[in-house]
C-alpha cells in the first residue's frame, strides 16, 4: 500500500483535526463559563449555609442557657451575653468561653425587652434573631 492510499483510509487530516479541536474549544468556552459561575455560586451558598448553621446553633445554645439556666443573666448587651457561659463577639468571631462558635459575624446583640418583668430576651446574630423567655427568675 502506497503512502497516499494509506492516508485515505486511516485517521484524520491535519485540517480535520484542527477544525474538530476548534469546534470543541468553542463549545467548551461556551459551556464552561456558565457552569464555572454556577459552581462558584454553589460554593458561596455552601459557605453561607454552613455559617447560618453555626448561627442557628449559637442562637439555640444561648436560648437553652436562658430558658433553663439556674443563674440569672449576668450580662446582656451589644457584643456580650453571659449566663453560666460567656458569649462574646471578638472582632468577627463569636466565641463561647473562648471556643469559636461562628465566624464572619457582623452583629451580635442581647437585649432584655421592656417591660423587664416579662423576662423576655432578644438575641440577634447578623440577620437572624429570636426571643427567649427565662422560665426561672
Amino acid at each position: 500500500m502506497t503512502r497516499s492510499a494509506r492516508s485515505r483510509v486511516y485517521g484524520f487530516t491535519l485540517i480535520e483535526a484542527v477544525i474538530t479541536l476548534a469546534l470543541i474549544g468553542a463549545l467548551t468556552a461556551l459551556i464552561a463559563r456558565p457552569i464555572a459561575d454556577l459552581i462558584q455560586a454553589r460554593s458561596n451558598v455552601g459557605a453561607a449555609t454552613e455559617q447560618q448553621a453555626n448561627i442557628d446553633y449559637a442562637l439555640g445554645r444561648m436560648a437553652r442557657d436562658i430558658r433553663f439556666g439556674v443563674q440569672g443573666v449576668e450580662a446582656c448587651k451589644e457584643g456580650q451575653f453571659r449566663i453560666e457561659n460567656e458569649y462574646r463577639l471578638d472582632r468577627s468571631t463569636l466565641r463561647v468561653n473562648d471556643s469559636v462558635l461562628a465566624e464572619g459575624i457582623e452583629t451580635f446583640k442581647c437585649e432584655l425587652l421592656a417591660p423587664g418583668e416579662l423576662r423576655l430576651y432578644r438575641l440577634v446574630i447578623n440577620d437572624s434573631e429570636t426571643r427567649v423567655f427565662k422560665r426561672k427568675d
Binding site: L38, S128, E129
Partner: protein, 163 residues
C-alpha cells in the same frame, strides 16, 4: 463512478445528522449538570426560609408564654375570650383581636410584633377552647410554614411570676 463513491466514503467526515446528535447530547449533558447545581441552590434557599419562619414562630410562642407566666392577660381572660366559641373549631386570630388580649401596652406591642403579623404566615395564630381538669383553657396553634405549626395550651391562671 462506483469506485469513486467507495473511495470517498472513508474521507466523508461527519454528516449533518451526526453533528446535530452530538451537539444535542452535549447540550443535554450540560443542562443536566446545570439543573443539578441550580436544584442544590434552591434547596439551600428553602431551608434558610424555613429556619427564619421557625424562629418567628418560636418568638411568638416565647412571647405568649412570657405574658402568660408574668404580666398576664386582660381580666376577661385574653385568649380565652377569643377561643371559647363552644364549637371546638379553630378560630383565626387577627392582629386587632390580639390587641385586646393584653393590658400592658409594651407587652401588647411585643406580642403583636411577632404574632399574627399581617401578610406573614409564620406566627399566624389560631385557637380553640379546651378544658384541663374541668377548668377552661385555650389551645393555640402558631403557624410555621405549610401545615407545620407549634401548639400550646394555656390554662386560665393568675400570673405569679415565680414559675
Amino acid at each position: 463512478m462506483k469506485a469513486v463513491f467507495f473511495q470517498r466514503k472513508p474521507q466523508g467526515g461527519l454528516t449533518l445528522i451526526e453533528m446535530v446528535v452530538t451537539l444535542t447530547l452535549i447540550a443535554v449533558g450540560a443542562s443536566a449538570i446545570a439543573s443539578l447545581l441550580i436544584g442544590g441552590l434552591n434547596i439551600n434557599q428553602t431551608n434558610q426560609g424555613f429556619a427564619d419562619d421557625l424562629r418567628q414562630a418560636e418568638s411568638c410562642y416565647e412571647t405568649i408564654l412570657a405574658i402568660q407566666e408574668t404580666v398576664g392577660w386582660t381580666d376577661n381572660g385574653g385568649p380565652l375570650s377569643s377561643c371559647q366559641s363552644g364549637t371546638g373549631d379553630w378560630t383565626s386570630i387577627s392582629e386587632a383581636t390580639l390587641q385586646g388580649w393584653v393590658d400592658v401596652e409594651e407587652a401588647r406591642n411585643r406580642l403583636t410584633s411577632v404574632c399574627a403579623v399581617p401578610n406573614r404566615l409564620a406566627g399566624n395564630l389560631e385557637c380553640r377552647g379546651r378544658e384541663i381538669g374541668g377548668a377552661p383553657a385555650a389551645q393555640l396553634r402558631i403557624a410555621v410554614r405549610g401545615s407545620r405549626n407549634i401548639g400550646l395550651v394555656l390554662p386560665l391562671r393568675e400570673p405569679d411570676g415565680d414559675d
